[in-house]
Symmetry: C2
């Protein structure tokens, strides 16, 4: 392994000068710069990041803490984070928290010892002291942790409004809203968006809490559809729940979209594979991850960030679970 000493020797300067040149910190004469540059090229020298970390107490590691990579929302997020991180020379460490504060805390502690540069976090711990006290650059994704931590999120409220209108515009008069878990910020924003929109018009509606889980959603919807045969539209707060709703309709022999129209939320790949294809409010998950990463890196590198709160637009994707014509 060739070290900074070898370079210094070859270039006829001290290691201090080489270090200054490499980090573009402090003055280096033109002459010295050229000599060092040549030596680096000739020896194919590459700086040892571990040795550097030990000195600077910083690394180019980014921690990505999310509940569970297995949840279809997160792979694309992880992909975006990794892509952008790579661009800036950072490396990402994957941390599945299962939403457990213990696991989150644990990761923060062990990675701090590795001089991790910062964290991107998706968590429900609305008041999470381990983040607030981490004393490290952190960016929150999808869910606000506290006002000091920059947050990137979809425009959930507007999205919910869009989805609701899609159903109303297509003639639905009795809408079932599948509300997500009540301790989830985005789910609550969607709920608000639905409520504001539905209450402005003359339509009946039901709201039911429903986890973002396929089989559970299916059961809940099946029961609702049995008890309330007048329901002619379902707006689910997630695509997985919407898939459950679609399955329930199929089992009960209710024609979609003729008798019942369904709209989901998320825009995951699953949607197009269903039959009929799922109309949904699509989030730009990749973009969320990309922005989060850029903001985090700015924080790490002590650059100014534009906002404390970034809202990424959503868009309605029309497919087969809604009728084509607007009435």
């Amino acid at each position: 392994m060739t070290t900074i000493r070898d370079v210094a020797k070859k270039a006829g300067v001290s290691v201090a000068t080489v270090s200054r040149f490499l980090n573009s910190t402090g003055y280096v004469s033109q002459e010295a710069a050229e000599a060092v540059s040549a030596a680096v090229a000739e020896l194919k020298y590459e700086l040892n990041p571990v040795a550097r970390s030990l000195n600077t107490k910083k690394s180019n590691l980014i921690g990505l803490i999310l509940p569970d990579i297995t949840n279809p929302f997160f792979p694309e997020l992880a992909r975006a984070v990794e892509d952008i991180a790579l661009t800036y020379g950072y490396t990402v460490i994957l941390c599945n928290s299962d939403e457990k504060p213990e696991k989150e805390k644990n990761y923060i502690e062990t990675l701090k010892k590795k001089y991790i540069a910062g964290f991107i976090v998706t968590s429900n711990q609305s008041d999470a002291p381990h983040y607030a006290n981490a004393n490290l650059p952190i960016v929150a994704l999808d869910r606000i942790i506290n006002e000091k931590i920059p947050t990137i999120s979809s425009n959930n409220k507007e999205g919910a409004s869009l989805g609701t209108k899609a159903l109303l515009d297509r003639g639905c008069k009795n809408i079932l809203f599948l509300r997500g878990p009540e301790d989830l910020n985005p789910a609550n924003d969607r709920y608000e968006g639905f409520m504001e929109t539905i209450q402005q018009v003359d339509a009946n509606y039901h709201v039911v809490s429903c986890p973002f889980h396929f089989a559970d959603s299916q059961k809940i919807v099946e029961q609702m559809l049995r008890d309330h045969p007048e329901i002619d539209g379902i707006f689910a707060s997630s695509d997985v729940s919407a898939a459950g709703a679609l399955k329930a309709a199929a089992l009960l022999g209710i024609a979609v979209p003729e008798k019942l129209q369904i709209v989901g939320f998320d825009g995951v790949a699953l949607g197009e594979m269903l039959t009929p294809g799922l109309t949904t409010v699509a989030q730009d998950v990749y973009k969320m991850g990309a922005i989060a990463t850029r903001v985090l890196i700015k924080r790490i590198e002590n650059q100014e960030i534009d906002h404390q709160f970034y809202e990424v637009p959503v868009k309605l994707v029309l497919r087969g679970t809604t009728r084509s014509g607007i009435e």
Copy 2:
């Protein structure tokens, strides 16, 4: 930050003794051990992994190189790797390669500088010198890289045989096999399993190459179904392709499973969400990831490993795209 010096001072011994105690290497008297142990507890001392790495040229980082975490096969794999790694005190770095040797090579190089402990790799580069020459513990997943690298894989051939028989047993006489990409080991093993099984019986069959991609599969199947209306069974080498087939059937108005039965391969969550639910040959992806991680860690820690090749059993999951009774 409390260092090994502080501990040594408090315990009244040298840092060398503390280090020996901490690493259980070399002799430490009972007396010294107790003093150090007490000092560690009192000071809440925790070893600095970066400083250690610089000396030992090892870390507890594991690199997970996979084509794309966005592909539904990989999240569960990543989850398993992370879970097991955590158990043994390792941390995992996520690397999306897009199957590009350049990116793979790049990751290997930059992570080697960080003294990465080893890699778990899923790659199609059947002859990948950058792995063979990495001079690091590596375990291959799903796809054999070379005979020196331990490999974990599903029993693809037997799985394909299972899937084929499922169709045959339920009366299919004209089977379409959607073969995966020809440069993919697992896809080829599945092809072999299909061929061996189908050729033992009196049945017609077609084989068509088909990427593991929803829309492409749908188109290919639609065409085949048009050209060969006698097809009464489809065996797809992946669930995503099977989903495409199911969609194609729906568009053509072919009743599944009455007129056409479909079997997939993978066992991803998508399968149960489709209507009808997808019968599939399920891989135990989590188990594959878990075994791969354990084998890698054994290699890293210089323990003997039992085999060079681990084959994880698959199982047939029967759902709605096949008929219930065996004829």
